[in-house]
């Protein structure tokens, strides 16, 4: 049986070693690349991310990957976004000024009130409509962010509470965005990654 392959988009921010290790630990083939020809060959594209939204979009546009990712998604290629990678999927962010996102999912990224960050381990509560593709409930995973998704409930697949409820997983067609870091969420993260990848390819 052919091994599932994941293409991690390298847009020059953050470290990829943890996510590469997690995915390889699940028995998947992994490529890290900013070359369209390489990303064309994988089953799932993964948009990682650590850092600020504006700089990330700037790098993606410089590499000509914005149109490439949009086009790939329109042609049904599954896409997973992690943390900043999830935020980049949306229409825009107000982090250090207004920046347009990839506009793959309706909604925007805004800051938590009073300069709060959301750092550490917190539970994710899956909405009923998402239980068919991920039936684990109330797992505790690692978050590290200061901005969150503000968009229609329709796209919120899981909710986490931090002063108020916000979306910790967003989903739309062949896209899944995780606000937390599954690659840093120990065994729980691996379980979630595996289920998400399987569900995207089964859909």
């Amino acid at each position: 049986m052919k091994k599932i392959s994941i293409g991690i988009v390298d847009y020059g921010m953050g470290n990829h070693s943890s996510i590469v290790n997690s995915l390889r630990g699940l028995g998947l083939r992994v490529k890290v690349s900013n070359q369209k020809i390489e990303l064309d060959t994988v089953d799932v594209i993964l948009l990682p991310g650590v850092g600020a939204f504006g700089l990330a979009m700037e790098n993606i546009i410089k590499l000509g990957l914005d149109d490439y990712i949009k086009n790939a998604v329109n042609h049904d290629k599954p896409l997973i976004g992690i943390c900043l990678g999830m935020q980049l999927m949306t229409e825009s962010s107000s982090e250090h000024g207004f920046t347009n996102g990839l506009e793959l999912i309706p909604g925007k990224i805004i800051s938590f009130p009073n300069n709060q960050s959301h750092i550490g381990w917190n539970g994710i509560n899956l909405k009923k409509s998402s239980s068919s593709w991920l039936n684990e409930s109330d797992r505790t995973v690692y978050f590290n962010h200061s901005y969150y998704y503000d968009g229609p409930d329709l796209y919120k697949a899981a909710i986490t509470h931090h002063a108020f409820p916000f979306a910790s997983i967003i989903k739309h067609k062949n896209l899944i965005g995780l606000q937390f870091h599954p690659e840093k969420s120990q065994v729980t993260g691996k379980i979630i990654l595996k289920k998400i990848i399987t569900s995207l390819l089964d859909d």
């Binding site: 953050g14 470290n15 070693s17 943890s18 290790n21 997690s22 630990g25 650590v50 850092g51 600020a52 700089l55 900043l84 982090e95 250090h96 009073n114 300069n115 709060q116 960050s117 959301h118 750092i119 550490g120 381990w121 917190n122 539970g123 505790t140 690692y142 978050f143 590290n144 962010h145 200061s146 509470h161 931090h162 870091h181 690659e183 840093k184 969420s185 120990q186 065994v187 729980t188 993260g189 691996k190 379980i191």
Partner: protein, 258 residues
């Protein structure tokens, strides 16, 4: 609800993990990688590597150590501190495997640098590390390079309240390395209102101390150094004795899934 964290700290000097006593005396413990690997295996909530001889000597971050740690394939979030001078160092540290960085002398010497680093990496990735003391009713910040105490707490408070950084590692530097000695008056004297913005470190060895500190609104985590290395699964043993079980996370271990 966000869980309060227990952070395992590995202090490194001259390439070796050491136990530090009050920023004055150091006992070698072994290879840092071995201690870090254990903390990962034992389900630490985060691991903090602080390399204490990089800033004074202007050596920059210890990339050799970070590369060794990267090869360990950690599944636990990693904080790195030591020798970070500027944005370029900060980015390279993150690219070499750290999830967050801790800044100490950088923020005192070059406060403008912090803003640039924050705008590039995001506030959530930045912790400021502050050795402090509380003597004769006065709270002070210790400058370990000049070996002097400053009573200017406001600038530190301002950085936290501004949202440029996410958390402040408050080190009781005098009691660091000693049993059951963290001075709670340091936390009380800080008068920071922002919830979950302080990580307490230095002289925290007892379950009761951890329990009491984690119950404070401004404390998001406690950081514990050497005492975690003396017994297997020490972090989980401490968590067992925390009264309010919902405060902390109970990790799932691979062995439990089989």
């Amino acid at each position: 609800m966000i869980k309060k964290r227990i952070i395992g700290v590995v202090t490194v000097k001259n390439g070796w993990a050491v136990q530090s006593f009050g920023y004055k005396r150091y006992l070698p413990l072994g290879k840092p990688e071995c201690l870090i690997e254990n903390l990962d295996r034992w389900g630490a909530d985060e691991i903090f590597i602080q390399v204490i001889d990089r800033s004074n000597s202007n050596l920059g971050p210890d990339f050799e150590l970070l590369e060794k740690v990267s090869r360990l394939r950690l599944e636990t979030p990693l904080i790195y501190g030591g020798g970070i001078r500027n944005i370029s160092d900060a980015i390279q540290v993150i690219k070499t495997g750290a999830d967050r960085i801790s800044l100490d002398s950088t923020y005192r010497k070059m406060p403008d640098n912090i803003k640039v680093i924050s705008e590039t990496l995001g506030a959530q990735a930045i912790i400021i590390s502050t050795p402090m003391s509380f003597d004769s009713g006065m709270l002070g910040v210790y400058d370990y390079q000049k070996l002097e105490i400053s009573l200017d707490i406001d600038s530190t408070r301002d950085i936290i309240n501004s949202g440029i950084v996410s958390e402040m590692l408050v080190i009781d530097y005098k009691n660091e390395g000693y049993k059951n000695s963290f001075n709670r008056q340091i936390i009380d004297g800080l008068m920071i209102k922002k919830k979950g913005s302080v990580i307490a470190f230095g002289g925290i060895t007892e379950d009761e101390q951890v329990n009491s500190l984690l119950n404070l609104d401004i404390v998001s985590a406690v950081a514990i150094g050497n005492s975690l290395s003396y017994r297997e699964h020490a972090i989980q043993m401490i968590k067992k004795n925390i009264e309010n079980k919902t405060l902390v996370r109970k990790p799932i271990f691979q062995s439990l899934l089989k």
